[in-house]
Symmetry: C2
Subunit: 340 residues, 2 copies
């Protein structure tokens, strides 16, 4: 393999000059630079990343920590992030931490990131205080997407407002008994999106002087099957529920399937609203609170690279959402008509 010294010899300069020329640093005459670039090209020289990292202490790599890549929100944020990173020549290292209901997930071990990345992006992964502290202790710039602990740079929605908006939409339609399908109940972290959305849900109900209770809240594991099962459970507990607010579109679509399983019609028998703006939501006319996940990924990555370069990032970047009314929500129908 051609090394920097061969290029140096061929171009008749020192390795230092080759290094400078190739990285576009100043203090190289343009004639020299051109010659170096040409010979490097000719020899097919490509610098060894390990050697460069070892010598410089920088890796031009960002660590992406996320529970899953095959869920809509996560896949889109990661896609956006990867694009922004690529644009500035950064690589993305992927680390998933399967979040399963019941058993505790694999904990984040900061040592694997140690000296391996210049920055860390945590996407939708609720971490406990120790994990956050250990990541922060790495001394590496850190950005959270989806939600993050207080004091950390975070790109997110206003989850409380999102939960409120969704719930108020249902209340406005006339619903009085509104159920909620939340995401994975994370016992260690108090700042995951579903937590904020549930707060908003409860707040909206309380403001409207409607019933709020644990009985009306079920876990949907943040996926389709979970949402499906949750509606069954919800209606078992409370057959008088006429509307459901799900914390993600995937769960909302699952809820629609679950309603169908029970022979219920959406929205006549049950209104369903989700959060995300999933591409397939229109398939079932899903009413939702839409967000721009791709943009969040790109912005978070850009922020992170700024921080790596020594910039100071705003601590919280809150994204707008938009209520997208389609056909899955409507005023309570015949099924809930008071028996006269």
């Amino acid at each position: 393999m051609t090394g920097i010294d061969e290029v140096a010899r061929a171009a008749g300069v020192s390795t230092a000059t080759v290094s400078r020329a190739l990285r576009g640093l100043p203090n190289v005459s343009s004639r020299t630079r051109d010659r170096v670039l040409a010979t490097a090209q000719e020899l097919g020289y490509v610098a060894s990343p390990s050697a460069a990292s070892l010598a410089s202490g920088r890796t031009r790599t960002i660590g992406l920590l996320t529970p899953w890549v095959n869920r809509w929100f996560f896949a889109n944020v990661i896609d956006g992030a990867e694009r922004a990173l690529r644009q500035l020549g950064y690589d993305a290292l992927l680390y998933t931490f399967d979040l399963l209901d019941g058993e505790p997930r694999r904990r984040v071990d900061p040592s694997v990131l140690h000296r391996r990345v210049d920055g860390i992006m945590v996407v939708g992964l609720p971490l406990d205080d120790d994990e956050v502290a250990s990541l922060a202790g790495l001394g590496t710039p850190l950005v959270f997407v989806g939600s993050g602990p207080a004091g950390q740079v975070t790109v997110r929605l206003d989850d409380d407002a999102t939960g409120r908006a969704a719930t108020e939409h249902l209340i406005g339609l006339g619903h009085r008994v509104v159920g909620h399908v939340t995401g994975v109940p994370d016992l260690v972290s108090s700042w995951s999106p579903p937590v904020g959305r549930e707060q908003g849900y409860r707040g909206a109900l309380a403001d409207a002087r409607l019933e709020v209770g644990d009985q009306l809240v079920v876990n949907g594991d943040f996926d389709v099957e979970g949402g499906r099962a949750s509606v069954r459970e919800l209606l078992r507990r409370r057959p008088d529920v006429t509307a459901v607010f799900a914390s993600s579109d995937e769960m909302a679509m699952g809820a629609i399937l679950g309603a169908r399983d029970l022979g219920l019609t959406v929205p006549d028998d049950l209104s369903v609203i989700g959060v995300d703006g999933h591409d397939l939501g229109e398939l079932v006319g899903l009413t939702t609170i839409a967000q721009d996940t791709l943009q969040q990924g790109m912005d978070a990555a850009t922020l992170l690279m700024d921080m790596v370069a020594g910039g100071v990032a705003p601590s919280v970047l809150t994204y707008p959402t938009e209520l997208l009314v389609r056909g899955s929500t409507a005023p309570p129908g015949r099924a809930s008509e008071p028996v006269t």
Copy 2:
């Protein structure tokens, strides 16, 4: 930062021994190993990946090349791959190559992988011969998922059989004019999955002595919107089409949306079948040819790591598929009844 020499000093051994002990190599007495492990732990020592890579020439990192991470097939394969990799302590570096209709995609530049990864996994990315050659020229083990060029290790479906099965299902139901929604038309590569599936489609039609023609084939860009638009185009060209085979479930679901846009009912006016087994297919009762993408990702990663370790991989691993009949396909209905 603690280096290997500090651990060596603290444990009273040489750095060579520390290195051996920490990596579980033989020729270290268990007493010494324990002591080294303990002191390393105590000092919070973690080896520098760049230094290790530079010295050893191995990175314990795999490059994942894919067009997108936010499409069902790709996200699932990547999720599976990442799990398998992590299990053996490998990291996954993500590289996306946005495949857009019309403009040529960014070409794969092997130099960015140079000395950066121990293995390369190409997921659903059709490459031209030069790209394949340059990747292979890296001397790094290479695995293709979804489809790959002849002579390369590939994990895939039998696309021809898949296209055939889907088309025969429609023919068996009595359809005589069957349209096809294919994926991105890649002009440079002859071996992408949609190509094989289209062949199977044409073969099945030919065998049944039914019309086969370019007029019946439209491109759906492999996404929901593309599928949606394609059905409009297809029916504009041929209003007598009664069934559509789409090369992916996302396009098939788009096709269902497109049919609805035109006021058509599925399956009464138009039967639709896809390929994948998408989680949300049930939402619209999508009939499909299902495949296990997660497993393909895991197996491909495992294969690749075997190859990195010097093993020899079987050249093609063909996965089974399963016809999943739901409600989106049915015998041709009233709309196509011959006018009497």
